[in-house]
């Protein structure tokens, strides 16, 4: 660990700045190509560049593997992480918390929206059997969990949420190619705003490339990435809604 706040990558000597890279370029696998790769890394700002491997990808491309040194650093005292800040309670505690602080079952409606059919993530959060030894929301006494499944049009999700008077909407987005998840999530929020639903319920999204920070940016109340559990979401919903109830 470094003594001060300024940190740099570590290879085998503190702060040596060593990084491993690999990338492909439209150049031949020869000295010319290697020099192109070196120049690219130099252009990015790396020093001590070692191109350790050239792999002929055919059709005019070459794959490079490299080690290089960066002089960039990060001041850890300045890092601000946007994370969900509510504490995480287990199922029993969450149920008890809701009983005590809200006093009624909460309704959540979940779906993989638009073209996305990856239900495993949302199922992990919602389905009875849950994930990694945490039961899903369906199992909670104080949640009425409705899982609409795969490829649900945003319109349908909102309609159902309105119909069920949902307290929260849970959206999953797993496919991210060409940032399709950003487009879909943005459209959902815009529709919700147009339909004056945005302020009536919590909007929560999740998926392997979703962070809380991104979610906030997109206008959601929270975002959950890889390794999230029902407990995280349930606690967040319970505590946030309880707080709002107090305020209101």
């Amino acid at each position: 660990m470094s003594k001060n706040n300024i940190i740099r990558p570590y290879g085998d000597t503190s702060g040596d700045g060593k990084m491993q890279l690999s990338f492909s370029l439209p150049v031949p696998p020869d000295a010319f190509g290697k020099e192109a790769a070196r120049l690219l890394l130099e252009r990015i700002g790396f020093d001590n560049i070692e191109i350790t491997c050239l792999r002929d990808l055919r059709e005019g491309y070459t794959h490079f593997i490299a080690y290089a040194v960066t002089s960039a650093s990060v001041d850890t005292s300045k890092i601000k992480v946007k994370v969900v800040e509510t504490p995480v309670m287990d199922m029993e505690a969450t149920d008890a918390y809701i009983s005590e602080h809200i006093g009624r079952k909460l309704t959540v409606v979940g779906a993989c929206i638009e073209s996305d059919a990856h239900t495993v993530g949302i199922d992990a959060i919602m389905n009875m059997k849950g994930y990694n030894h945490r039961f899903g929301l369906e199992r909670y006494q104080m949640f009425n969990a409705i899982n609409m499944g795969a490829q649900v049009p945003s319109e349908d999700l909102l309609a159902r949420a309105r119909k069920e008077k949902a307290d929260a909407i849970l959206v999953s987005q797993v496919v991210t190619q060409k940032n399709i998840h950003i487009k879909n999530l943005t459209r959902l929020i815009e529709l919700a705003e147009a339909e004056r639903l945005r302020d009536k319920m919590l909007f929560i999204c999740g998926g392997p490339r979703i962070s809380h920070e991104l979610a906030i940016e997109l206008g959601y109340d929270a975002g959950f990435g890889t390794g999230s559990y029902s407990t995280d979401v349930a606690s967040f919903i319970a505590i946030t809604l309880a707080a709002r109830a107090v305020k209101a």
């Binding site: 055919r58 059709e59 491309y61 794959h63 392997p208």
Partner: protein
């Protein structure tokens, strides 16, 4: 030689139950047709192209007939009738319908002999074209030699067919034997096949006939350079199963994802529609000499690979029986299996060895489509690369037919050029290292691997016998497959299924059945 010690009686019971299940659908296969089948007939008659809004002419014509309540005897006769009546070819008929200039239900009806004659000519032509493609493939394989076992199979999925073509050529030059163009997300739910070359897709590239042609040309070029026939594959699944099969047959695709039940379970397509469409699409594949590939791997992406191993075996047996009904030969049945065991599982490799050997044991002639670890692939590319190596190891050790190479970036993005190349390097290294290892080894009697394989088969037999007893649709309704409940009359596309009337005629179905000896 690694050979399981399996009770032959169990094998017989398994096949008997599966045959009973598949055999119970004669009513469906004999008496029904679907919009997709009719569109396929039109495509085979030579109708292609789309309206300006993108709606393909086969859809235009079939929808027109349905709207006019004129589809029950099939699409072939009305179009043949219009050809005779107007002196047009099939394409011109479709275009005229598309322009709204022609109402097929209002034309005078030509005598049946004349209609049959027109259709006989068209179907003879098209079947000759398809046979021609089959023969060309056979010739090229004869010239360049057969595919390696396991064959190296990689995917391209940029969404842009031109970019795909470059990547496919690169991969083939590096050693890939089979290129799969992954389809754009959820194409299976489109009730039409997009037209023309496409450059935008999500998580894959649209399956279109023009895209097939572009990719086939690119691979023919590499085959010629490498003196190695590079096969092409795509997906005949979803609401357009038989259409895509037909396009593949015309454009010389060599393999086709084509599962009997995938659409039902994993795409919520109506059970009847799916079984019916698969029946005809597989017949097209059989006729075209296309190797079908089934989707058993899908069971394991949502269920546990050990607990639900028997569902894979059961599905393989069902896929086999359905395929036989469509005239697919065992050596063209790429039944699916996947290495989806949790790497945290102790003896994961031994479990997988048991499962992979069981597949070989049950389907010795099948070019098994062996799928890589995906579910437990993580953002840790180094670890995923190792899991793929173990997968490649088992593939070579047990001589699976087709190795769908895993990518170290499986959990991150559709493959980059370098990812695919590293996957090929992985396979080539492992395949070479353990080339004849299997010949050195034997299974210890009563070893875990033997016991485990027996256990999975037993579970599959019990499951199939239960399904045979209750009926497939009932079992699906109860969620017996993949824990997903699919009612007989639920799901997408049921409205596209109709009962044929007495005049129904599908020239291709008849001829292919005959030639395939069905």
């Amino acid at each position: 030689m690694l050979k399981l010690d399996i009770d032959p009686k169990l094998k017989t019971r398994a096949r008997t139950a599966a045959a009973r299940i598949a055999g119970s659908f004669a009513w469906l296969f004999d008496d029904y047709s679907s919009l997709a089948i009719e569109r396929t007939v039109l495509r085979l008659m030579g109708i292609d192209g789309a309206l300006e809004d993108g709606k393909p002419l086969p859809n235009v014509v079939v929808d027109h007939l349905q709207a006019k309540n004129a589809l029950l005897r099939g699409a072939a006769i009305p179009v043949a009738n219009a050809m005779l009546s107007r002196g047009l070819n099939a394409q011109e008929v479709a275009e005229a319908v598309g322009r709204g200039e022609l109402d097929l239900s209002e034309l005078p009806e030509a005598p049946p002999e004349q209609l049959y004659k027109v259709l006989d000519k068209l179907s003879t032509q098209m079947l000759a074209r398809i046979r021609g493609q089959r023969e060309k493939r056979d010739k090229l394989f004869a010239e360049y030699g057969p595919r390696r076992v396991p064959a190296i199979y990689v995917i391209v999925a940029t969404g842009n067919i031109y970019e795909d073509a470059v990547q496919a050529k690169a991969a083939a030059t590096e050693g890939a034997d089979i290129i799969a163009v992954i389809r754009s997300t959820a194409q299976s739910l489109l009730d039409f096949v997009p037209y023309g070359a496409t450059t935008v897709g999500f998580g894959g590239t649209f399956a279109t006939q023009e895209n097939f042609r572009i990719m086939r040309a690119a691979l023919d070029e590499v085959s010629e350079q490498q003196k190695r026939y590079i096969s092409l594959t795509n997906y005949a699944s979803g609401l357009c199963m038989p259409e895509i099969a037909a396009m593949g047959a015309m454009e010389r695709l060599d393999l086709m994802l084509n599962d009997a039940m995938y659409g039902i379970l994993f795409r919520d397509i109506n059970p009847k529609r799916t079984l019916l469409d698969q029946y005809f699409s597989r017949m097209v594949n059989a006729y075209a000499g296309i190797e079908i590939q089934t989707g058993e791997d899908n069971y394991l992406t949502t269920s546990d690979a050990i607990e639900k191993a028997y569902t894979v075996t059961a599905s393989q047996l069902l896929n086999e029986q359905f395929a036989l009904l469509s005239g697919v030969k065992p050596e063209k049945m790429g039944l699916g299996h996947a290495y989806e065991i949790d790497p945290e599982q102790e003896n994961s490799f031994s479990y997988e060895l048991a499962h992979a050997l069981l597949t070989k044991e049950l389907f010795p002639d099948s070019p098994v489509k062996y799928m890589p670890p995906t579910k437990f692939a993580s953002g840790n590319i180094f670890k995923t690369h190792l899991m793929d190596a173990m997968f490649n190891f088992v593939g070579q050790l047990t001589h699976q037919g087709v190795q769908l190479l895993g990518m170290m970036t499986e959990a991150i993005h559709t493959p980059h050029l370098a990812d695919r190349s590293l996957a090929i390097e992985n396979a080539q290294y492992i395949f070479k290292a353990v080339k004849d290892l299997g010949d050195n080894l034997a299974l210890a009697p009563n070893s875990f691997v033997n016991r485990r394989a027996g256990e999975v088969l037993r579970e599959a037999v019990e499951f199939l016998e239960m399904v045979a007893e209750d009926g497939l649709f009932k079992a699906m309704e109860r969620g017996e497959f993949a824990d997903i409940k699919r009612p007989e009359n639920g799901g997408k596309g049921l409205e596209g299924v109709f009962r044929k009337d007495a005049q129904y005629f599908n020239p291709f179905l008849e001829k292919m059945k005959q030639e395939l000896g069905l």
